[in-house]
């Protein structure tokens, strides 16, 4: 039987708001999987990819990244849409979740609209 030790760290979205992914990348380089309680903005994802590329080395090949967006769908009720809008307006967060893992640990992330499947 093969035992794999996994470290998972939960990070509030607010910690990513200044687009400084320095601490986050330090954790990723130390074999930690990161969970963020919101969906990153596309610009933040691009910035994270850029910062990741700066850190790629023989020991750290990069990241696997994926997120779920649970913003109201087009056919949602007016109340659901309003609730989503108010949530984003008051918290600045995009409702959802982001998973980031070191590429040498997470080989693949499979995504369907409602769930993420991590393969280690």
């Amino acid at each position: 039987m093969i035992r794999i030790k996994l470290k998972i760290k939960f990070i509030p979205y607010e910690k990513t708001c200044n687009d400084n992914f320095k601490d986050l990348l330090k954790d990723l380089q130390k074999d930690t999987i990161i969970l963020i309680d919101a969906k990153l903005k596309p610009e933040q994802e691009a910035e994270l990819i850029k910062k990741t590329m700066e850190k790629v080395s023989e020991k750290f090949s990069g990241i696997e990244l994926s997120s779920i967006d649970i913003s109201p769908e087009k056919d949602s009720t007016l109340f659901e849409k309003l609730r989503g809008f108010v949530f984003q307006l008051t918290t600045g967060k995009r409702r959802g979740m982001t998973v980031i893992g070191p590429a040498h640990i997470i080989t693949k992330i499979e995504k369907n609209p409602e769930e993420l499947m991590l393969y280690v």
Partner: protein, 216 residues
Amino acid sequence: MLSSISGIHRHIRNTFNALLSKIFKKKPDMKLGLYGPVNAGKTTLANRICLDWLGEELGKASVIPHETREIQIKEKVTMNHNGKSLNFNLVDTPGIATKIDFEDFLKYGMKKKESKQRAKEATKGVIESIKWLDKMDLVLVVIDSTQDPINQVNITLLGNLDARKTPVIIVGNKIDLKKSNLKRVREAFPQYEVIGISAKNDKNMKELYAQLFKKL
């Protein structure tokens, strides 16, 4: 108070002017960017466009990932369609990736030193590609239609172009291959125009050119 109103007025005017210049394509150095994941066929498409309209290729395409590691530009490409012409600079970008492992290159028979160098250059290429997103006037997002289109690179790329209000056409490449599934690409991104082509075998290029004229 007056200066704040004047600032808002200036902001509205600039936004409106930028929108007008995008719609009426007044920009003299319009940039058409080719973006997408690694090995989707961006350089093969760039070569096809350059061959069709300039009679010469732009760069070397290869099955080894990250063959294009620097931004390549072909200036002053002129396309003609139904009596109209379109002038632009064609920008071929390195494939975007979230991970680059030098050991992947060893599988293609490369030496360790060469692989490490290629990986190092590839990371810089990804950074450059992302930096250049701001400069594009229209982007062809090139997707390998034999692969699952819902991957993070495509999602991040399209999200960033959408945030920048850059017009996009999705190009489902490699439709000549048996595994090609253009329907899957269309279903993954229903809000975008998707054109299926084979850049390598010169299939459906006329439809892509017609779409470019429509978009601009």
